[in-house]
Amino acid sequence: MLPTTSEYYCLLVVVFFAFWLLRGSGRASVGLVLLVNLFFYARWGWSYLALVPAAATVDFFLARAIAGTGRKPIQRLPISISIAMNLGLIVFCRYAPATGLFLPLTLSFYAFQALTYTLDIYRGDARPVGYLTYLTSVTFFPTVAAGPITRVAALAPQWNWKGKTLTSEEGGRALFLIGLGLAKKFLIADYLGNNLVNRVFDLPTLYSGGDVLLGVYAYAFQLYYDFSGYSDIAIGSALLLGIRLPANFNAPYRATNLADFWRRWHITFSNWLRDYLYFSLPGKRTKWMPYLGLVITMVAGGVWHGANGTFAIWGLLHGVGLALFRFWQAARRGAKASESRGIKIGAGLLTFHFVLLAWIFFRAASVATALQILSQIGSLHWNVVNATPQFVLVLAIAAACHFVPKDWYDLSLLNFNRTPAVLQAAAMTLLLLAIRTVSSTGAAPFIYSKF
């Protein structure tokens, strides 16, 4: 059940009221969320009801075993089992269709969250929690399809806040985020995808270089608005239950270098890769291993998206780019960073276009298609015949909204919070009508839900 369906919101409304009515009775509200989590998995497929609680229970006891001994050699066996089991779960779900078993949800995001628990305990960064709390946290329904990847250690304590209620500011922020996420998804991402991006990436050789280039720019914004839209809805849904999930995006195309980009794009995933993969690689004090580690980490991140050459190239581009940037930083250590606005804009444009180049490989169905796209752009035929004025307008709005000052966002949120409840409901109704008017074919699945 994806948060683009009316069913999701019917359920969310019921869960919201039931959760807060049960909140006074402590664990009952947590139990309710666990039931809802399991219901979500069952909606994806009954096999998940066997897979997920079983894997989570094994992890729970492995974590206990790790915490029960302070000796690293003994801890290595349970942590190895946990890593193997969760990575195996990702691989199994990803490739089960080849065996005839259809598993629509890849469980990647579940597995990443589950690993934060055992790895944090192994490293001494977290302590074991109760079974109900653990199971509810690791299976939390807003994060099921595409994150944000939340550390169990950060999520678990939030279920136990005694006397916690939802302030009107938090509630308003939750509704605002859900509305914003829906608008991002339906009014921008799907519009861009349906009206040029998908066509250009399907059969690039049918389009001029100008059309293809516009399609590639549009894809950058489609992906951002799609994924950040999902993240906003997930964060807003969790916040309706008083649970704070970490931010996943921070205006990534405003980054002025590649390292900055990865601090702004899919933040929870890049943090996960950094904390649990990059930091685990050996040779930190050697001369070249840190650079190689970046490449290995990013290629692994690429291949996680799919065992396909396009994702490997995408990861490789980012890995090499990050390594080169790190090398450049090390070479000019001590030099003062330029404050020049022109240089910052130039660095931002360079970073954006490097990211854009990598997106071509990320989105293309094959390496050959990606090369066709580059070849079409390289043909220098700049006539644009397939982009309507409306499309260009939506793309321009998408770009402009990405660059609006954060103060504007804060002001909008503040105004929404100050608005009476009835008018908040009216605003949501207007948004629903706008979505109905603009969206044409119904929602496409969230791009990241397939990973």
């Binding site: 409304v13 009107s168 009216a426």
Partner: protein
């Protein structure tokens, strides 16, 4: 403790959403219906549920590698007026024969989409008599034939649908190539079994020369100079094991129209003659009749497939106006050039447009197909209704929704999987009709 303000906002919104679709006359408004609510809390049971009444059978859509048809089945999507395909069927049945098929089409055909699948399936069934026709260079970036590599440089390219040649000499395949000394075209064939080739050129007063080589060996040298302007055909044998052929203009100016590659084994040769943006009117208005007739006669096909309509389908006034007569003229010209050959009109695929939030069939498409069907019956041509064979109205929407997708997001062009389905549908219809006729 229930958070009051948020709860009130959510309750108000839910009330509006519940009421909106129930306001008389406002049923189209978005909102929550009892069906949505029920669906939200419904789980699909893993065990069998009581069966619903059986749904009407969906049209079967075979996949590309479907098993061979062992018994002829009725083909509701292929109309075969008496005698219309006899010549083609006789050729298929004749032992040791080379059966030539020309498939005229629009943009999908320019990438050998659909035609490559039909070629592969027919050749698997009846034998491989060679690749058939190929253009000299790529008029469009996506032009290409399955299994063939084509590299060329130095040509002025004039497709009949776009920058057409002023004299409307576009050869067999609808594209004219002008080259001067140094222009070349290099073809890498899918295998080394081709034994003969033809180069279609224009013999003309100030014609230059070109050579065709395989490796370091010049196979043939052709002087295109002639006293009168007329289509020329340079036929030559390929050295055994030839996989790559290079054509090079050696002097003066030459004008070429394409190649044909043959094998000395019996079977089917399926020539894909796609022109981007092509319509029936292109054949009528921009194919000079004499040179097209000469090219068709030289080719001497057993079946000509006329597969246009996608580009016409968005011009309803044209369909009501000149279209029927122009289609009749095309058939008449083919018949005049090839009195014995079978002719088949193949309808376009479904073409989708956005309407009211759904991908629906382009409004004039079915009208166009009706015209094609009527004229096929009237002129004694066979008719294959690709649109119906795919599943009829709304197929683009359904094929777009399939995973993996079968059609592009322009709701017009098939992706390789979709092309394979259409190719298999057409091939099965032909073979089924052939097997019925042979009984």
């Amino acid at each position: 403790m229930l958070p009051r303000k948020t709860a009130l906002a959510i309750a108000t919104f839910t009330l509006i959403a519940l009421l909106a679709p129930n306001i008389p006359g406002k049923e189209h408004l978005p909102g929550i219906t009892p069906r949505n609510v029920a669906a939200a809390f419904t789980l699909r049971m893993p065990w069998p549920v009581p069966a619903l009444p059986p749904a009407p059978p969906a049209p079967s859509v075979p996949v590309a590698n479907a098993p061979k048809i062992v018994a002829a089945a009725p083909q509701p999507n292929l109309s075969v007026p008496p005698g219309s395909l006899d010549h083609f069927f006789d050729a298929l049945a004749r032992p040791g024969a080379t059966v030539r098929i020309l498939h005229y089409g629009d943009s999908p055909t320019t990438a050998d989409s659909i035609t490559a699948d039909v070629r592969r399936l027919l050749q698997r069934r009846f034998g491989d008599a060679g690749h058939g026709f190929l253009l000299i260079a790529k008029p469009w970036a996506w032009y290409g034939h399955n299994g063939i590599e084509l590299n060329a440089s130095g040509w002025k390219i004039e497709p009949a649908s776009q920058d057409r040649a002023a004299d409307h000499f576009h050869g067999l395949g609808g594209v004219s190539f002008r080259g001067e000394s140094g222009a070349y075209s290099r073809v890498t064939l899918p295998d080394d079994k081709h034994t003969d080739a033809v180069v279609y050129y224009l013999a003309q007063l100030d014609g230059g020369s070109f050579t065709v080589s395989a490796g370091d060996t010049v196979i043939t040298s052709v002087n295109t100079a002639a006293e009168e302007k007329k289509p020329g055909f340079a036929e030559f044998a390929l050295p055994e094991g030839t996989k790559e052929v290079e054509l090079r203009v050696t002097s003066g100016r030459v004008r070429l129209f394409g190649y044909r590659f043959d094998k000395d084994t019996p079977g089917v040769q399926y020539s894909s003659l796609g022109v981007n943006g092509a319509q029936v009117q292109m054949l009528v208005r921009y194919f000079e009749v004499g040179q097209w007739t000469a090219a068709l006669r030289h080719e001497n096909p057993d079946l000509v497939v006329v597969n246009y309509g996608t580009n016409e389908s968005i011009f309803p006034e044209y369909i009501d106006g000149e279209y029927p007569d122009e289609l009749r003229k095309v058939i008449a010209r083919i018949r005049a050039a090839l009195p014995g050959a079978s002719v088949l009109i193949m309808s376009p695929m479904d073409r989708g447009v956005m309407e009211g939030g759904a991908i629906v069939t382009a409004p004039a498409l079915e009208k166009l197909i009706d015209v094609q069907k009527r004229i096929a019956a009237e002129t004694g041509c066979a008719f294959f209704n690709t649109f119906q064979a795919m599943g009829g109205a709304g197929t683009m929407g359904r094929w777009y929704a399939e995973q993996p997708r079968l059609v592009s997001a322009d709701f017009t062009h098939p992706l390789p999987q979709g092309a394979a389905r259409v190719g298999a549908l057409f091939e099965q219809a032909l073979v089924s009709a052939y097997e019925s006729a042979r009984r």
